[in-house]
């Protein structure tokens, strides 16, 4: 019933919470919220809440990327955040979310991974973990925003080179973050385009494209989701919209 009402409103150009179709909910962003993590952020996008923590660990580089640090991204849809999530192995949805956020960070080259070398054998492994705390829609954009905010506050701990041990809480540098990718998911509901859907509105979405845009307007990741197609001629307009909105969201990080 409620879902049908949300759809009827969208068809009239309105939203349940009174927003315009292309308007985001109010966003609250806090950084350094977890003192055990080397970088962290809390994002509240309407009622959607996400915590992202960055842990820096020592590890070996990938064979095809010697001389570069390693980025790893994971997402947990905690059972506490929604009646729809259950504990157990990661769902395809959580894997997709983590991989889309990962691509936005990786392909934008926002981390200067060449500077993350400890010695000949060891590099920094940057673990970005996304924890969904309350699911009220648009997890992708909230998570990606939290991830880049957390990375921007991440500090590199000192390494005791004799013991080859990380000395926690003793930092030597900031993580070299040189770009700011922002993810904007542009949703199609019938013939309308909608941004930042709530969970209720997500029930009416035909399809969406998650678009990751860098501050120089380069697009660095795309992912179409949803079980309906999108007409090819509509795609460039959706990207222009994402570029425009990304500038707005990026201001939150300044």
């Amino acid at each position: 019933m409620q879902e049908k009402y949300a759809l009827e409103l969208i068809n009239k150009g309105m939203r349940v919470d009174g927003r315009k179709l292309l308007e985001f909910r109010e966003i609250e962003l806090k950084t350094n919220v977890i003192n055990k993590a080397e970088g962290s952020a809390y994002v509240k996008m309407g009622e959607t809440q996400v915590i992202v923590g960055v842990k820096m660990n020592m590890g070996t580089p990938y064979a095809d990327s010697m001389g570069e640090g390693v980025l790893m991204c994971g997402a947990e849809f905690t059972p506490m955040s929604s009646p729809d999530f259950e504990s157990g192995p990661p769902s395809p949805e959580s894997i997709e979310l983590a991989r889309v956020v990962d691509r936005g960070i990786r392909e934008s080259h926002c981390i200067d991974v060449g500077k993350l070398v400890i010695d000949e054998k060891n590099v920094w492994v940057v673990n970005v973990d996304i924890h969904i705390i309350n699911h009220d829609g648009n997890l992708m954009d909230a998570s990606a925003l939290g991830a880049i905010a957390a990375l921007k506050t991440t500090k590199i701990p000192r390494v005791d080179l004799e013991k080859m041990e990380i000395v926690r809480n003793d930092y030597v540098a900031d993580l070299p973050v040189v770009h700011t990718p922002i993810n904007v998911s542009v949703c199609k509901v019938g013939s309308n385009v909608v941004l930042d859907p709530t969970k209720l509105e997500e029930g009416s979405i035909d399809s969406r494209i998650s678009i990751s845009v860098r501050e120089d307007d380069k697009i660095c990741a795309l992912q179409k989701q949803g079980s309906k197609g999108i007409m090819i001629g509509e795609i460039p307009g959706m990207m222009e919209l994402a570029m425009e909105k990304s500038r707005e969201l990026r201001k939150l990080l300044e």
Binding site: I95, D217, C220, A221, L222, K224, S227, G229, M231
Partner: protein, 241 residues
């Protein structure tokens, strides 16, 4: 994407395998290669080869997975351990699970699943030899297998990869271009209607480049669709003999 490398991917307008920028590799398609399946196909783009089989519509267990008002499509993309240079650990890793999911969404728009409440259509894509563009090769194969299985469909789905290598926009990326190029875009569409059903990209592109890539992908899909139709025609003619 974007591994540092000195490999030149394009020299004098020719790619590592001698192709021009907008040329697909040799495309091979064969329908009904797995007799146990309700429908099956084998598709090759150069040395990338994928098998697909479809079972169903069939009863869905466990019962709680059934949908009372529609049938469902389940998809599984998998890479054989021997399909790549360094043996791949068997089973579904995170990449395969994500691809299985987008593959499902790439095919659902053409299926009349509402006509089959409570049942499932199961589609499997198995990459047996990988040299770039494996997911789109798999989607082309599953699309053929769905038709061959007689699943009611409005259209065929056709897929291709496009991207950027050595600063040039290219169609149908091979393994080297996939690994060392600047961008890779997986694309599937219903060519007859212009509906895009798969769109993924990683790399660094301007909006203008994406517009051009969409055009290139649409053109290539038109050519590939003709090959899909021919493969089906060949199959039915042979079956009628």
């Amino acid at each position: 994407m974007g591994h540092k490398s000195d490999i030149k991917l394009i020299v004098d307008g020719k790619r590592t395998d001698g192709r021009t920028v907008d040329q697909c590799r040799e495309v091979t398609m064969e329908v009904n290669v797995i007799p146990a399946a309700d429908g099956s196909a084998k598709v090759g783009f150069g040395s990338t080869v994928a098998l697909a089989s479809v079972y169903g519509p069939r009863e869905l267990f466990p019962r709680f997975m059934q949908e009372s008002d529609t049938g469902i499509l389940r998809t599984r993309y998998n890479m054989a351990p021997f399909s790549v240079d360094d043996r791949k650990k068997p089973g579904q890793d995170r990449r395969s699970q994500e691809i299985s999911k987008v593959m499902k969404h790439a095919l659902e728009p053409v299926l009349f699943l509402q006509e089959f409440p409570k049942v499932t259509v199961d589609a499997f894509a198995e990459v047996i030899q990988a040299d770039g563009s494996t997911r789109v090769t798999g989607i082309n194969a599953v699309s053929l297998a769905l038709v061959a299985a007689g699943i009611p469909m409005s259209h065929m789905v056709t897929a291709v990869s496009v991207g950027k290598a050595d600063g040039e926009l290219v169609t149908d990326l091979n393994g080297k271009e996939d690994n060392f190029g600047e961008a890779d875009m997986g694309f599937a569409m219903v060519h007859d209607t212009g509906e895009v059903t798969l769109l993924q990209m990683d790399g660094e592109l301007t909006l203008d480049e994406i517009k051009k890539l969409l055009d290139m992908a649409q053109t290539a899909c038109g050519q590939i669709l003709e090959k899909q139709k021919k493969a089906l025609r060949d199959f039915y003619v042979k079956r009628g003999e």
